[in-house]
């Protein structure tokens, strides 16, 4: 008898895998311009996402450094005698709010800077010759609420140049960080929708370009997921390639910024390249896959009636 039964292949076999990759590749190359448009859109929106991540990593970096620094730093005017400084020092030690007060000379300040920024040695050569820094105190209060009282009292003293207390800075920075985070998510959400619409359209065109194949596949009994997978994969690849491109742009951009910052903002603590790239890659790759995958699932559901 001519008729011979074969089982239905439900699991994805190696043969199907080959077919899947071939079909996806064919679709991407046939639709090259549309695919390129999608990839560029993904790249642009993930680039924006990555920039937000970079800024926010840096804000967190600075916040963290400041949080670990002293609560308040009091700088003494130049040319004030050590005796006058010591008078204030001993008075302040007995203020009820002060938990601890440390005196430092401008020489020590220079040394500390030198330890904090080991990359800027030539600059410290200059500093050591004519030190532009100030003598001062590191003041710790018993409670954070007392900082402003102590600061105000210090500021009134005639030998005090200025008072910097990190509490406000830290608070402002973390507020800035929050604003960045939320506005980042909102902008990113809008961009993600726009990106998804473009990918949906790309997949729609891919489905349309292959409508004859799809019809034949359905008639000879290809499973729904066998028909769908190449399109889902196409969306995922678009997302992933877009993410990779965004990472390359952001990575080299940040590398350049770090180089510039080292010369023009030498005292500004920038987060390291690797730490930033770790974060941005995570966000862009996950973002690319989610946007690409979601878009292709939407497209397949709407335009591929299997």
């Amino acid at each position: 008898m001519y008729v011979m039964k074969r089982g239905v292949h439900t699991a994805m076999s190696l043969n199907s895998m080959g077919h899947l990759l071939r079909e996806t590749g064919r679709s991407l190359t046939r639709n090259a311009w549309m695919a390129l448009a999608s990839v560029s859109t993904v790249t642009i929106s993930l680039f924006v996402l990555a920039v937000f991540v970079v800024v926010s990593v840096n804000v967190n970096h600075v916040t963290h450094i400041l949080e670990n620094q002293v609560e308040m730093r009091v700088f003494i005017k130049p040319h004030v005698s050590r005796r006058q400084e010591m008078v204030l020092y001993h008075q302040a030690r007995h203020w009820p709010q002060v938990r601890r007060i440390d005196f430092f000379t401008k020489k020590q300040a220079a040394q500390n800077l030198k330890n904090e920024f080991p990359d800027q040695q030539d600059l410290f050569q200059v500093i050591q010759k004519s030190n532009p820094l100030f003598d001062g105190f590191d003041v710790y209060t018993k409670t954070p609420q007392q900082i402003s009282t102590v600061a105000a009292r210090m500021t009134k003293d005639p030998i005090v140049h200025n008072v910097v207390y990190q509490g406000t800075v830290v608070r402002r920075l973390s507020r800035l960080g929050n604003i960045l985070k939320w506005s980042g998510w909102v902008i990113e959400g809008l961009l993600a929708i726009a990106t998804m619409l473009i990918i949906v359209n790309t997949i729609r065109l891919a489905v349309f370009a292959r409508r004859r194949e799809i019809q034949v596949m359905r008639l000879v009994g290809a499973t729904d997921w066998f028909i769908r997978w190449p399109f889902i994969l196409e969306g995922l690849i678009i997302g992933l390639v877009g993410a990779a491109a965004a990472d390359v742009v952001v990575g080299s951009g940040y590398h350049w910024v770090l180089g510039r910052a080292a010369t023009s903002l030498p005292f500004w603590p920038m987060a390291g390249l690797h730490r930033v790239l770790d974060e941005t890659t995570l966000f862009t790759v996950v973002g690319g896959l989610v946007v690409g995958g979601l878009a292709s699932i939407i497209a397949v559901r709407r335009f591929l009636k299997v």
Partner: protein, 228 residues
């Protein structure tokens, strides 16, 4: 076995495709569906491969109950069927071999199986030497042979054909019809909707006539019965 019991197909626009149709086709049979255009022949074929569902009644093919079957089980049924259309539906960017092989690829056949099966089927339909040609380089009859080869390559139990000779000249149509007879002789059940009066008369197979969505005649060794 194909069993159609009390099937009515009513379209959303209120038009009736079929009304209270019952029909049984046993394994190994060769059945012509005849009747005027729009009588419901195509609707009947479409019900058989699950493209449409009846409004009422039962359609059963072997153990598949098409009326209640889940959509995701449809591929399993379709792998038992070889479907041939008047407008062959070949893929223009693939050659003859690739068009036939495609049907095997998408059900997960191995390269080895494909390399073995496709030449056999092309030999059967008489296109072994045309395997590298593209559809637009073939005559209508040759294109239909590719369509038949594609329907056969997965070794279906049932072959459903919707006016497969509709676009062909009488001599070519006769060749194609002989091919279906050969397929039937080798064991496949064939259900064919056709307008090929002379061939139906000549072959003396079972003829089911449909008019206005109802079966009006079912003869074991029938004739076409309409003037064309």
């Amino acid at each position: 076995m194909i069993r159609i019991e009390g099937v009515t197909k009513r379209y959303p626009n209120g038009h009736y495709g079929l009304t209270d149709v019952s029909l049984t086709v046993h394994r190994g049979e060769f059945v012509f569906l005849v009747g005027p255009s729009g009588a419901g022949k195509s609707t009947l074929i479409r019900l058989l491969y699950g493209e449409e569902r009846p409004s009422t009644g039962e359609v059963t093919i072997d153990h598949f109950r098409l009326t209640t079957m889940r959509l995701r089980h449809l591929p399993k049924l379709r792998r038992q069927l070889g479907i041939v259309f008047q407008d062959v539906k070949l893929l223009p960017t693939r050659n003859v071999f690739q068009n036939v092989a495609f049907a095997m690829e998408v059900v997960g056949a191995s390269k080895k199986e494909i390399q073995k099966r496709v030449p056999q089927v092309l030999e059967l339909v008489g296109l072994a030497r045309r395997k590298d040609n593209f559809p637009n380089q073939l005559s209508g009859g040759e294109q239909q042979r590719v369509g038949i080869a594609r329907a056969l390559v997965n070794q279906p139990t049932y072959v459903l054909a919707d006016e497969p000779t509709g676009n062909l000249d009488p001599d070519t149509a006769s060749d194609i019809m002989r091919l279906f007879l050969e397929i039937n002789r080798r064991g496949a059940t064939v259900v064919m909707a056709t307008h090929a009066r002379d061939l139906v008369n000549q072959l003396q197979k079972r003829v089911v006539a449909i008019e206005g969505g109802r079966i009006v005649r079912d003869e074991a060794r029938g004739a076409y019965g309409y003037e064309s």
